[in-house]
Symmetry: C2
Subunit: 330 residues, 2 copies
């Protein structure tokens, strides 16, 4: 299999997992805007590309697909997901499977407030969310929501800009200052997440791996432990049935008062997919079958509980000259 | 060599480097308060220990040294450095080299305001620092310091609690609310750092590796590039001549208006020592010689420029049962 990872950045371990499953014959091609993207060191070929907002960007990615005879393409950064989705037909015309959701779903995942409205329309348990201070105030005065609340940007990924707000006055001040913020109920339950693979042929979720944060007595490091719950698996299927995903994705949840609440969906390989892989949930084999045109049988929950993942910092060290020499030109 | 790493946490790559230099015959023993410390997976023996504030802590570490016939001990967390220093004689009575500075130096490094006063007394270029709002205000009114400034806790490590403050009113508010904060000149120059090894026999710095942050067009990831400057090496020697270090340490600097300014010293293996090791600056061999009672010849600047380090996330994955079974009991 020849696979292209766009905006590969620091995802070295993901590439190592691909190499482990696919073997030496696989061709791993990567791109990044920066030449100092550590994951380039684990690829067969690395291209330095313009920013994804550059008009020449997609034509260049398509050219790389042609030149490298790519079978599947995906991206590791959120703002690029909808871009790949929008150009799906051009990739498919070259025989390339696009491991990204269909356009509408891609856009929903990137705008958390629109996602909230969508989920509510479809009766899916999610976190109470308000698009403006006024909307929040109306609900607050009716007693539907309490302070403190959580504010976060409606676009964007991760926890950048997210914070807890204690008072109405401060809430007004921060939302006035930054219109991109939305207001959410402060969840106090356990946070969990699931890595899911949606088969690109059958369009059904065929693998789910769920894990929760491990409480630790010291340090705030990223440590998770696998668990299984049929109710969570059913909830995942209910959510995914309302949208059009394609390939790997990562879903965040809260578990509170005996119920699961969907928090957000990142429709790409999650940073902690490494845990699923290490516990034997191999999305890479599923991609391999899909690329051949085969559907994958359902293997949901096919892993052990109490498998622990502990993250740490690793490094790539290379001479500047070697880094420059390793970049391929089109 | 038998080496003990206290509070080993996530320092997996450091342990891998030790294994690489020392070979299979070396015994790497580690402790941590948490049983889910990923670096335990790279040790020969791992002990779960009480918090460093527990009265039984040091006796237990000494017992481990006896049982494991340890030759050298060090810690990977800042609050433990002075503790090891204070008990140096008990370790030395067991034939254990303590890779930590002598007590007074250890305390200075942990209290950044006392360090500032010490550096000023010794005529060493450092960043203007004020212990209280009143002290700052006096200097501000004389025009000796401008806003914005930087506040950070006088104790503690890393950048936790550090932030830029724009106005006098806010500065008064935050320093009133948190007396642990000190006020520093906002440095706009380049930040650099150096990994240094102070020979434990000759008490001289014998190896220095310096690197600067690499400017990147995208992402805030940790990327550094090696450089050499005799003026920086001379400055390092000047600083170290005023204190009593012993073993590995990490120094942070700013370079502004053609001058180096010392920012802080962490007298332990820095998180980015991996860069030095990858560029061939092997402190582990130096420790090995010191443990044998030999001095090391000076090898300052013995590395190439333009060697790049790029950090990424890696993981340890193990079953909970295996983690529990791997913990050794005293």
């Amino acid at each position: 299999m020849h696979i292209l990872f766009c905006s590969v950045g620091r995802r070295c371990e993901l590439l190592k997992d691909f190499r482990k499953t696919l073997g030496r014959d696989a061709k791993i091609v990567v791109t990044d805007n920066s030449e100092v993207a550590p994951a380039m060191a684990f690829a067969n070929r690395a291209y330095q590309v313009p920013l994804i907002t550059d008009p020449g960007y997609i034509p260049m990615i398509l050219d790389i697909c042609k030149k490298e005879e790519i079978h599947a393409v995906t991206t590791l950064i959120d703002p690029e997901i909808a871009l790949l989705a929008e150009h799906r037909e051009e990739f498919e015309a070259l025989g390339v499977v696009v491991l990204a959701p269909y356009t509408e779903t891609a856009k929903l995942c990137f705008n958390k407030y629109e996602m909230y409205q969508f989920l509510i329309r479809h009766g899916i348990h999610t976190i109470k969310t308000y698009g403006t201070y006024e909307e929040f105030l109306t609900a607050y005065e009716k007693g539907e929501i309490l302070l403190p609340v959580f504010v976060k940007p409606r676009m964007g990924s991760g926890s950048v800009g997210a914070r807890k707000i204690e008072t109405l006055a401060l809430l007004k001040q921060v939302t006035d200052a930054d219109e991109s913020l939305m207001i959410q109920e402060l969840m106090t339950g356990e946070d969990l997440d699931a890595d899911v693979y949606v088969d690109t042929v059958s369009h059904k979720p065929v693998a789910i791996f769920s894990k929760r944060k491990l409480s630790t007595t010291i340090g705030g490091a990223n440590k998770t432990i696998s668990f299984k719950d049929e109710r969570l698996f059913d909830f995942v299927k209910e959510v995914l049935g309302t949208m059009e995903f394609n390939g790997p994705l990562d879903m965040d949840f809260f578990y509170q008062d005996g119920k699961y609440y969907l928090s957000e969906i990142n429709p790409r390989f999650g940073g902690a997919y490494l845990h699923a892989y290490g516990a034997g949930v191999d999305f890479i084999k599923l991609i391999q079958e899909n690329v051949k045109g085969n559907t994958n049988p359902e293997q949901i929950g096919d892993y052990e509980e109490d498998v622990v993942m502990m993250m740490y910092d690793s490094v790539v060290i290379r001479k500047k000259k070697e880094i420059e020499a390793a970049i391929v030109s089109l």
